[in-house]
């Protein structure tokens, strides 16, 4: 079984090619986010480095979130279109699962925390060890203080001195808040983003346990309503009305720095 893995739920853009036995090639760009421009060329390049044609793929694994909406949709749209055009199946992988997967050989409780912007985090807690990760709570979206309180409970009340390790770009961004929880260890920048290899590995096990999805049925996981913030929604309406289809000053663009869309 040969898989293509697509990872675009954060600022990074990543692709991996390989099978259940391991990865053959991977490319990740952590630079300024240019998902729409970069993803398809990276897919072609990664396949060619791996010596695999698109037609030879069996399954396409894709990170379906939670994550930053615009990039996430580029990955999901690309995966859906590839799977449709090549008549292949898809398998959905959670960004937080893929992030925690990096810690699969640590005997630890791991908080996967991604930056959701606007003062929010996407997060979930995992029990890791023996090469596997098991989600124990989440996925959820919330303020870093809420994550801290939940971690404090895991770190102190349940785990004594073994504590909790927090990884992800959200953990780094809100390090000072999260560190208020006793017994918390912070992962470094190498653990900031879900690795494409993690999406590949989790995708391979999902595919072997028949968690396959048809392209039309694949959904992104947003965790928030599109109009979650009424004032944002009406401001967006206003600027969209001004711009509508053609002149738009990218309402997404205006808030790109702060909101997940």
């Amino acid at each position: 079984m040969m898989l293509l893995a697509i990872e675009t739920s954060t600022k990074a853009v990543g692709v991996a090619v390989g099978g259940p036995a391991g990865m053959t090639a991977t490319i990740r760009m952590d630079g300024p986010p240019r998902h729409a421009e970069q993803l398809m060329p990276l897919v072609s390049a990664c396949c060619s480095y791996a010596g695999v044609t698109l037609a030879a793929l069996d399954v396409i694994a894709v990170d379906t979130g939670p994550g930053l909406f615009t990039g996430l949709r580029v990955g999901v749209a690309t995966a859906k279109a590839l799977a449709f055009a090549l008549a292949k199946d898809l398998v959905a992988v959670s960004s937080l699962d893929a992030l925690a997967w990096s810690m699969r050989f640590t005997e630890a409780t791991v908080a996967a925390v991604l930056d959701a912007r606007r003062g929010q985090c996407f997060w979930a807690v995992y029990r890791c060890g023996g090469g596997a990760v098991q989600q124990v709570t989440g996925p959820a979206v919330g303020a870093p203080e809420k994550v801290r309180d939940a971690l404090a409970e895991y770190g102190c009340a349940r785990l004594g001195k073994r504590g909790v390790t927090a990884v992800g770009d959200g953990a780094l961004r809100y390090a000072s808040v999260l560190s208020e929880a006793d017994g918390l260890t912070l992962g470094d920048a190498s653990l900031a983003y879900p690795p494409p290899e993690g999406v590949l590995a989790l995708g391979a096990s999902g595919a072997s346990s028949a968690q396959l999805v048809r392209p039309a049925d694949l959904r992104a996981m947003y965790l928030t309503d599109p109009d979650a913030d009424a004032s944002t929604a009406s401001a967006a309406v206003a600027s969209a009305a001004h711009a509508s289809a053609e002149s738009v000053a990218s309402p997404g663009g205006a808030s790109e720095g702060t909101a997940p869309w």
Binding site: R34, H35, A36, E37, Q38, L39, M40, P41, V43, S44, L54, F69, T70, R73, V74, G75, V76, A77, T78, A79, K80, A81, L82, F84, A85, L86, P215, A216, R219, A220, Y222, P226, D227, A233, S234, A236, V237, A238, A240, A241, H242, A243, S244, A245, E246, S247, V248, A249, S250, P251, G252, G253, W261
Partner: protein
């Protein structure tokens, strides 16, 4: 755009023949030589449109013949908010697009690998919405191993009039008016445009939406104002006609404010009369500038494009004006005026012929202008 030398994408031997460049001189009308068969044509382009709140896919053969065109409007979703919410639009595009592409291909009875290209609107429009279409189109093109081509949404609107056998005389003055823009464009030859003027503030369709909101008519404003205006007296209120005789640019913000002021001062004025008078003012401005453009450029007709082109009073007055000048009125079907993917596929076929495929590093271009220097 027909009515001039049509570029040939395929010669009889199946080799690529370089088509006429966009600046080629118009050479009068060219007779159509029957509908090409889909199997033989190889000129079938899949078009994808996701720039605003319509998700659309279509297959167009040889840049003119619509083999299929499907549009899924999100109006119902956005009506809840009284306008287009970009995040709502982007989510809907992602869920709707692959099923629409499936339908467009099966209605056209064409296989993805049999296409001669995949065209997509890359701008202008909502950044997040555009990206769904662009990412999808690139992946389809690579997977099927067919050319990918990025299309300017505004240029695509200019191709709507030439779809399905319509004969477009050139040069033609086009009034391109929608919720996002208002432009007066002279199409001098296929692919060669002169932008005479555009709106300095609100787009015409945006004015319709806002006035509909003041009048409590709901969203979207175009159709409701149009309907309401049919029962009103267009002469009952003398609203301003901004920039009627000055230059080529448009301005609708002052008109919109005048309607708001009037309705506040005259809360009992019949809504139908206000709607009809407002609509008459917008139509007056659009039609009189188009008429002046025909006179000054010697154009052979006036063409309507964009969502506002569906307005019945604009269509009536354009027809009337063209009759009195002895030029052609080109009023594409309403479905081809509003956002659709057939116009994108048509524009894509021509752009492929003229410029070849686009880079696979193409992204969304939210502020793309009609004419790039």
């Amino acid at each position: 755009m027909r009515g001039t030398t049509r570029p040939m994408v395929r010669g009889t031997t199946g080799t690529m023949v370089r088509p006429t460049k966009p600046d080629a001189r118009a050479t009068g009308s060219v007779r159509r030589t029957g509908r090409p068969s889909l199997e033989a044509a190889g000129g079938a382009v899949l078009g994808i449109e996701t720039s605003c709140d319509e998700t659309a896919a279509a297959v167009v053969v040889d840049g003119v013949d619509i083999a299929s065109s499907v549009v899924s409007s999100q109006v119902d979703l956005h009506t809840l908010y009284g306008g287009v919410v970009p995040e709502v639009a982007s989510r809907a595009h992602l869920d709707l697009l692959v099923p629409l592409v499936t339908t467009a291909l099966s209605e056209a009875e064409v296989e993805g690998r049999g296409l001669s290209g995949v065209a997509v609107t890359s701008g202008p429009g909502l950044a997040g919405a555009l990206m769904v279409g662009v990412a999808t189109a690139k992946a389809l093109a690579v997977a099927w191993d067919v050319p990918f081509v990025a299309v300017n949404h505004l240029e695509a609107h200019l191709f709507a009039a030439g779809l399905d056998g319509a004969d477009v005389p050139l040069p033609v003055v086009t009034v391109l008016a929608s919720g996002g823009h208002t432009m007066l464009v002279v199409i001098e030859a296929p692919g060669r445009y002169r932008l005479l003027g555009q709106t300095l503030d609100d787009a015409a369709g945006e004015a319709f939406d806002k006035v509909a909101r003041f009048l409590g008519l709901g969203y979207p404003g175009g159709p409701v104002v149009d309907r309401m205006a049919q029962e009103g007296d267009p002469r009952s209120v003398d609203f301003p006609r901004p920039l009627l005789h000055q230059g080529w640019d448009f301005s609708f913000s002052g008109l919109k404010s005048a309607v708001l002021r009037y309705t506040r001062l005259h809360p009992d004025a019949p809504t139908a009369d206000v709607a009809a008078s407002f609509q008459a003012a917008v139509v007056d401005v659009l039609v009189s500038k188009a008429v002046r453009a025909v006179r000054e450029t010697g154009a052979a007709g006036i063409c309507l494009a964009g969502g506002v082109a569906a307005n019945s009073e604009l269509r009536r007055r354009t027809t009337e004006a063209c009759e009195s000048m002895g030029v052609r009125a080109l009023l594409p079907e309403r479905a081809m005026c509003t956002d659709n993917a057939a116009m994108v596929a048509a524009a894509g076929w021509w752009r492929l012929a003229w410029d070849g495929p686009s880079s696979l590093e193409t992204g969304a271009e939210p502020d793309l202008p009609l004419l790039t220097a």
